[in-house]
């Protein structure tokens, strides 16, 4: 049974690592910046150990129960603000995912970031990010959760813009921050809405997550209250999890260092949106409108993002669209009520997507570019990267018996069984996305590893090589080892859900029942059908990019307009830029506000400022330094009060 202090330590270890790097190593010992990496690895490793302990303790307690430690933070009026830890199965799983992937990424980064002048700064941000992510999943109360939610966003901003001297990176960081902020505003509104509706919670503390759960399940939240709360929370989740139409920031975020993409923009932070919906799942369940919204947005995003992944030439962008699409899968699972499968997909996705990103980083380390048109033929030079990337791709495509197969199948099965129109719609959307997924990932796989080498960074006109330029050889062991570990995860993680038979160490439906969710039986027909669809996608990719029996150029020419729309990402960036930013904000809103600002606000503030300064000046005149004057002021003050009372009151 885990102690409360040990759970806090999960949070404080990486936080301490951040503090030491930022306050000691960076200012004084920057010569020993290498220590920052080891410190972070040690801290995150410690957190991982404690997280596993936490998982074991929660598992030992049986289904659907939580460990709760709540402390008073402050009492204002009759209202209690608390801080605390909520350790339930969901938290325990998220803790293990976040710390495990983070540990692999930190180890990998010692190789990838070697020699970077910002080495210590990188690890400071990474430690802070890991701590924030842990704080986010541990929070027992919605305000506390929001604080860490914003901290996570801040770290994302700092890490995307890590190479801030590159204009594209700086712009991407800004874009990520602003676009997610749109969603965060919805989340904040939801918190305020909860607070102002606190009377409908009937004596429960409306900011405590467990009390929100109770209020939702007891039916204290009337239909529209639950809907508004759920939609506000979902707005926040859409921003962080890059759901349509707030997805545009994630592909640009690939400007950050690749390990950052693996940790933050694939495995953990973007999954925080899914976590948020899962965390407040009872509220969503209380409103069918909210559930259907989640399902439709998720299903649409899954297909929409996958379609853009088909035509990207930058390997990281393919993976970025893939991430958006997979997050859509998770959202649609939650939307059709499949709580267990949604979280399970988050769990497996964290392993294989981090693996794929780090594989792309390894490839980049050798070739100096991310553009697949200048890669090819890396199989021989980089056997380990090749093998692990293949495992990741198969897992993402969803082939038996890899992790992605089990989780994707569960999601599809639950959508199929949902029974209503929404379920049918999202099922077909998801199935189409499965086809696209297996196609684009094997397109990337074949373009990168098969055929002849096409020159790398030396041939690519748009790339300034990262690291040591083109050198076709396997990456250093500190980068390859984490790939291997994650590959094992990408193979085995699927068995945690184990829908078929009792395996002894893993009982049947272990994962789902651990989460306290209802488990469905395995549907062999659906599984076969989705596997066939996935295999068809791989087959098409093989024909086009491996055996070249179907010409990719000819196909894209004949589908000219479609291809152009896809590769321009449906023109959404341009539309946002033109209608949102240029005309909407600069042209309309900003011009109007500018006038108000100058004519009303500025004039008011200037006047107040003028008064403040001049009254201050005038009052200062009374401060003559003359002792007699001070005595007079005291006496006059007393007489004024007395006079007021005697003659006027």
């Amino acid at each position: 049974m885990i102690e409360e202090s040990a759970v806090w330590l999960i949070l404080f270890l990486p936080l301490a690592s951040f503090a030491v790097i930022a306050l000691v190593i960076r200012p004084f010992l920057n010569r020993y910046a290498i220590a920052a990496g080891y410190l972070t690895i040690a801290a995150v490793g410690g957190s991982l150990m404690l997280s596993i302990w936490a998982l074991g303790s929660v598992e030992g307690r049986g289904e659907g129960t939580e460990l709760l430690w709540v402390h008073d933070w402050m009492q204002i009026g009759a209202f209690d603000f608390n801080i605390g830890i909520m350790l339930d199965p969901l938290t325990a799983i998220m803790l293990v995912v976040a710390t495990a992937v983070s540990l692999m990424v930190q180890i990998y980064s010692t190789g990838y970031m070697k020699g970077d002048p910002g080495y210590a700064r990188y690890y400071a941000y990474m430690s802070l990010f890991t701590a924030s992510m842990i704080g986010l999943v541990l929070a027992s109360n919605i305000v506390q959760l929001f604080v860490f939610w914003e901290l996570v966003g801040l770290c994302s901003f700092l890490l995307i813009g890590f190479w801030y001297h590159k204009p594209a990176a700086a712009a991407a960081a800004k874009k990520a921050f602003i676009v997610t902020r749109v969603g965060d505003f919805g989340f904040l509104l939801a918190i305020m809405y909860i607070f102002f509706n606190r009377d409908s919670f009937g004596g429960l503390n409306p900011l405590e997550i467990t009390d929100i759960h109770s209020a939702a399940t007891l039916g204290l939240l009337g239909g529209s209250v639950a809907t508004w709360i759920a939609l506000g929370i979902f707005a926040g989740a859409m921003g962080k999890s890059a759901q349509f139409p707030l997805h545009t920031w994630l592909p640009d975020a690939m400007e950050g260092p690749t390990p950052v993409s693996a940790l933050i923009h694939a495995a953990t932070m973007v999954a925080a949106g899914v976590f948020l919906v899962a965390r407040f799942f009872p509220v969503f369940e209380a409103s069918s409108t909210a559930m259907n919204t989640v399902a439709i947005v998720g299903g649409f995003t899954a297909l929409f993002a996958a379609s853009m992944g088909l035509v990207m030439n930058d390997i990281k962008r393919v993976l970025a669209y893939s991430t958006i699409s997979q997050l859509g899968f998770m959202m649609l699972a939650l939307g059709v009520g499949a709580y267990g499968p949604g979280i399970f997909h988050l769990f497996t996705h964290a392993f294989f997507k981090a693996l794929l990103f780090m594989g792309s980083g390894s490839v980049n380390h050798a070739t100096g570019t991310f553009d697949m048109r200048y890669m090819g033929g890396l199989r021989k030079a980089m056997p380990w990267t090749y093998a692990t990337f293949l495992i990741g791709s198969l897992s993402l495509a969803g082939l038996f018996p890899l992790a992605g197969f089990w989780s994707k199948d569960e999601v599809l099965a639950d959508a199929w069984r949902h029974g209503e129109l929404v379920g049918q719609v999202v099922f077909w959307l998801a199935l189409a996305a499965v086809f696209m997924t297996s196609f684009y990932i094997f397109r990337a796989f074949f373009m990168t590893f098969e055929g002849e080498f096409r020159g790398g960074a030396d041939a690519d006109p748009d790339t300034e090589p990262h690291g040591e330029g083109v050198h076709l050889e396997e990456s250093p062991p500190e980068m390859v080892w984490p790939l291997g570990v994650l590959a094992v995860g990408a193979v085995l993680a699927g068995f945690a859900v184990n829908p078929t038979t009792d395996l002894g160490i893993v009982p049947i439906h272990w994962f789902t029942e651990f989460l306290g969710a209802h488990a469905e039986d395995f549907n062999i027909v659906l599984a076969a059908a989705s596997s066939l669809v996935a295999a068809a996608g791989i087959g098409l990719a093989y024909l086009m990019y491996m055996s070249k029996r179907v010409s990719a150029e000819a196909l894209s020419l004949s589908l000219g307009p479609v291809h152009r729309i896809l590769s321009r990402k449906y023109y959404m960036d341009e539309a946002y830029e033109l209608y949102g930013v240029e005309r909407g904000i600069y042209g309309g809103l900003a011009r109007g506000l500018d006038w108000v600002d100058r004519a009303v606000v500025d004039r008011f503030v200037t006047t107040v400022g003028w008064f403040a300064v001049n009254i201050g000046g005038a009052l200062r005149q009374a401060q003559t330094g003359q002792l007699q004057a001070y005595g007079v002021v005291i006496s006059v003050g007393i007489m004024a009060i007395l006079g007021l009372y005697l003659f006027f009151l």
Partner: protein, 496 residues
């Protein structure tokens, strides 16, 4: 006098004894650096007694003591004793660099600080007007001497001003006490309250009687001097500027805290009857609004960090008075967060202001100037010191996640509870105005070029003081509950 009486007085006796020991020690030892160590370590004696008393409160047997109706030992008094002992310890630590400029009388310096602190502790316990007056003088006289310690024209001027204005205000205070005594026939706060319930106050007259009107207004004036509240604040900037900087810090934190202890004690114990409390609550509300406004507005124009902090304490006296004024609805549900708000705010303010002052002591001592412009580039020269000063400025404004934020929210919350919304609004506007001059200090330190890159390098005791004050500011900002619980427990003793 029994042993029990001695025990009740033990914190004050221990402190005064320590002060005497320091003077004697000075005669026999050569190495004067030992003195502050003895002073800080010796503070464990009054601290230990205070802690023991906290746990012995139940069976203390005050009723049988000769001190009954003169001194009260309750959680309220002990809260202030802890606060004053803590502040005194930090002031002694922070003085170690400063006293090097005095060739003689170092022991006297420390023991005067301790004597004054003993007076403040007595003040927190006093429940009789005469005791209050005596304790007040014990507090003030050593400070007048300390203000003159620099032995230059400015220092002497500031001491002179403090002495004379303190005497004037004492005269007002005494006159007010006499009026109250004449009306009620008692000097004990409990008896005064009982008598006011019996005499039948007239609802037509403000305060129920003209004698009480004069008495209470004059007491407010006398106490207002201690608090440095408008319009009794004029001495503060001049005295702050001329005094040795550690003494300025002592004045701005400990002396103010003791002043608030007296005000809460007198008004919540003796003048708690609604017909009277409605009136004084209104006076304090108006003085509160004026104090913060005047303090903040004049502070904008200051170029000297000590004067700036002087006006800042005037403004903070205003914020604190919000809690004193927040009594209106207490009779309705029997509980107000006003007094606990004052204690909570004082705790947070003590940590924050000491963090600011200890850094100012370190920097001014090194660069030989109190001008804000001379703090230019301090972030480069001494990043930690500049960070602490910047952090404490943020806390003085009241921005999260600092202790200044939570205490302000709490004390303004008490105003909203008692239908003083207007005062809370004035307070919030004032907080915004104050950001202007606090952030100017931050701006100069972080954005102006440094004239030299030489680090400040304060001595070890001073570093320790900075660290402790900063830790308090940061810790209670993130986790205010322990302090708040202590404040609520202490204030509950007051209104019981």
């Amino acid at each position: 006098m029994t042993n029990q009486d001695l025990y009740i007085l033990s914190p004050e006796l221990g402190l005064a004894g320590l002060a005497l020991v320091l003077i004697l020690l000075d005669l026999v030892i050569e190495r004067k650096q030992v003195l502050p160590i003895v002073a800080v370590v010796g503070l464990a004696i009054p601290l230990g007694f205070s802690i023991a008393l906290w746990f012995d409160l139940e069976g203390l047997g005050l009723e049988d003591s000769i001190l009954v109706n003169t001194l009260e030992v309750d959680k309220f008094a002990l809260f202030f004793k802890f606060l004053i002992i803590g502040v005194t310890a930090l002031i002694v630590l922070a003085s170690t660099d400063y006293v090097k400029r005095f060739s003689r009388f170092r022991a006297e310096y420390y023991s005067l600080v301790l004597f004054s602190a003993a007076g403040m502790m007595l003040l927190a316990s006093a429940i009789d007007l005469i005791t209050i007056y005596v304790a007040l003088e014990l507090t003030a006289l050593p400070i007048a001497a300390l203000a003159a310690f620099n032995r230059d024209a400015r220092s002497a001027e500031s001491a002179m001003k403090f002495l004379i204005l303190s005497a004037i205000s004492s005269a007002f205070l005494l006159y007010g006490m006499v009026m109250v005594y004449g009306f009620t026939g008692s000097t004990s706060l409990g008896d005064i309250a009982a008598r006011l319930g019996e005499v039948g106050l007239s609802p037509e007259t403000p305060f129920g009687s003209h004698a009480l009107l004069f008495g209470i207004v004059l007491i407010i004036a006398g106490a207002g001097f201690k608090l440095a509240s408008f319009p009794f604040h004029m001495w503060a900037p001049d005295v702050y500027e001329g005094s040795p900087t550690p003494i300025t810090a002592f004045l701005s934190v400990a002396s103010k805290a003791a002043g608030f202890a007296v005000v809460l004690r007198v008004f919540y114990m003796a003048f708690d009857i609604p017909i009277v409390s409605v009136e004084w609550s209104a006076i304090f509300a108006v003085l509160s609004a004026l104090s913060m406004s005047v303090g903040n507005l004049i502070a904008i124009r200051q170029d000297n960090i000590k004067r700036l902090l002087a006006y800042s304490t005037i403004a903070h006296a205003g914020y604190l008075l919000v809690g004193v004024a927040a009594i209106a609805s207490r009779s309705a549900d029997g509980d107000s967060s006003g007094p606990s708000g004052v204690l909570f705010y004082l705790g947070g303010y003590a940590a924050t202001n000491l963090a600011a002052f200890t850094v100012v002591i370190a920097i001014s001592e090194r660069i030989g100037s109190d001008a804000i412009d001379d703090f230019a580039g301090m972030a480069k020269r001494s990043p930690y010191l500049a960070g602490v000063l910047g952090f404490s400025m943020i806390s003085l404004i009241g921005v999260p996640p600092t202790v200044g934020f939570v205490t302000k929210v709490y004390i303004f919350g008490s105003a909203v509870e008692t239908n003083l919304e207007w005062l809370a609004i004035v307070g919030v506007i004032n907080s915004v105005v104050s950001a202007y001059y606090y952030l100017r200090v931050v701006k100069v330190m972080y954005l102006s070029p440094a004239p030299s890159m030489e680090p400040i390098g304060p001595g070890l005791p001073l570093r320790l003081a900075v660290l402790v004050a900063f830790a308090g500011t940061a810790f209670f900002g993130l986790y205010p509950t322990p302090l708040l619980k202590l404040a609520i427990a202490a204030a509950a003793g007051l209104v019981a």
